[in-house]
Amino acid sequence: MEYLLHVLILICIYAVLTVSLDLLAGHMGILSVAHAAFYGLGAYTSALTAVYLGVPFLGGILVGMGIAALVSFVVSLPSIRLHDDYFIIATFGFQIILFSIFNNWIDLTRGPLGIPGIPEPVIFGWTIRSHRDFLILATIFAVFAHLIVGCIVRSPFGRVLRAIREDEVFAQALGKNTLRFKVTSFMVSAALAASAGSLYAHYITYIDPTSFTVMESILVISMVIIGGAGRLWGPLIGAAVLVTLPEILRFVGLPSSIAANIRQIFYGALLVIIMIVRPRGLVGRYGFGE
């Protein structure tokens, strides 16, 4: 039972990541490979402020989201004007720079040793200890992220995002400041990813840089695309499928190192197959210029 709750909590954390990435990928049509970096930024901010400064859970999350939004603003300045492939390369660059910082700024992040002993979250006197309580918290986060993204994409703001996706020059011709729309949604997306990171740090109580690599970014992209980009339920389905799968492999009796590799083979192959057979994913609306 504990185990089932654990899997559900992971699905909720990944759901926050995928829904926030989908705001960029599915609704605005730009792919960012830096999502794991913002996820890590949230996790590290929360962990550091909680362990060294004793900042409470909600405070740490807000600081993390704020820093992620700020960093994403700085990141977007040079990169958001770039088109398609070049934007992907630029975000690749930021992913690797931020990973280098997690891994190499040893005075601050303890490098590959990671940060242990992150305290359990306390919200207004409610101490979250059991898996059951954590699942409730994680579900609140997932629903919250879902609602935010849902509100954005249904609003006039979201319509402009879709206009940018379909034809950016046309959106500009209608007098929309597309740059502002792109930067804003990039910041929202990064802040939501950071909140998932904080949640992860407090749940696992230990973080190290290996959780925030380029491959993690590619995993989140795969979840969005396999589930279906541009539709609120798509990323959720993708997260559920790709989180559950390696757990099933563990049941078959494979050690977790092998299961991790098999999961990577599986999502890599699935990504290729989906691209060939159905670029818009299982339930998606947008197929990347299909």
């Binding site: 398609d84 390369i89 660059g93 590799n261 999502y267 890599g268 990504l271 990347f288």
Partner: protein, 290 residues
């Protein structure tokens, strides 16, 4: 001077990968991320032949390069060509190549473990002292072979019929087709040359140091940055870019610490994207294709 020599060795590796990557990019217009695994595969096949099967070194190296070439052409034939047939966008091709990369890298990790491997035997050579600079035999081989290969490709593109056809397709695929060039055939030739170069790079780099399943990706990213800052499709530009990266990396290692070698590359990339997105020698880019 020692730094210059080391920079030259690194640059030679990036140059080989960069030239192959750039050839493939100019003919197909998408970022072929799986190029990284082509390189890794060459190194590991050499390892299988030399260490597991006990073939002599020369045959193993030859086998490794052939295997890389076949892998590259296989990807083009089985995955990219069908995708192009249905007019897939560059983003879809890029995602598919990320999927291939993720799957094959995990496959290699699964088979060989994620630790380092080497196919060298005996003691590590201490290297020769040439006017006070210490270089090993393999390092000289890297510089000479990489330079020679790129010169051959450059001459081929300029003076040989197939090379001119490749440039025609890169310049304007539709017009080239009107003149009766078979685009699929040209792309196959390009994948053949590019993958062979990646295989050579893989074997040479592991002859100098060790191999890990992640090695290809790192070298590919560096090669890619060299291509972008040098100017896509311009071999002398790529050589300049690779040299700049090599120098920057080794100077960083000398002044600060080797830990920041990867980050500095992407800082350079982002500076270039801001100031001169077409690179040293590239032609100005069109902002959008309308």
């Amino acid at each position: 001077m020692q730094i210059l020599a080391n920079a030259l060795v690194s640059a030679a590796g990036y140059l080989l990968v960069g030239v192959g990557f750039s050839l493939i990019y100019t003919s197909t217009r998408f970022f072929h991320f799986a190029h990284g695994i082509v390189l890794t595969a060459g190194a590991y096949v050499t390892f299988i032949l030399k260490v597991w099967s006990g073939f002599p070194l020369s045959i193993s190296i030859f086998g490794g390069i052939i295997a890389s070439t076949l892998l590259g052409i296989g990807m083009e034939w089985n995955i990219y060509r069908p995708l192009r047939r249905r007019n897939a966008s560059p983003t879809i091709l890029l995602l598919a190549s990320l999927g291939i990369y993720a799957a094959l890298q995990a496959l290699i990790s699964l088979t060989f473990g994620s630790g380092t491997k080497t196919f060298r035997s005996g003691v590590v050579p201490t290297g020769l002292l040439i006017t006070g600079i210490r270089v090993t035999g393999p390092q000289i081989a890297i510089i000479v072979i990489s330079g020679a290969c790129c010169l051959v490709v450059w001459l081929l593109l300029r003076y040989i019929r197939v090379g001119k056809m490749i440039r025609a397709v890169a310049c304007d695929p539709d017009l080239a087709e009107v003149f009766g060039l078979n685009r699929d055939y040209i792309i196959r030739v390009v994948f053949l040359i590019g993958s062979a170069l990646a295989g050579i790079a893989g074997v040479l780099l592991t002859y100098d140091a060790d191999m890990t399943p992640m090695m290809g990706f790192r070298v590919l990213l560096m090669g890619m940055v060299a291509v972008i800052i040098g100017g896509i499709g311009e071999i002398p530009g790529i050589a300049l870019g690779a040299l700049l990266l090599g120098l920057a990396q080794h100077l960083t290692a000398w002044w600060f610490s080797s830990r920041w070698q990867d980050a500095i590359v992407f800082v350079i990339l982002i500076l270039f994207l801001l100031v001169r997105p077409q690179g040293f020698l590239g032609k100005p880019l069109r902002k959008t294709a309308i």
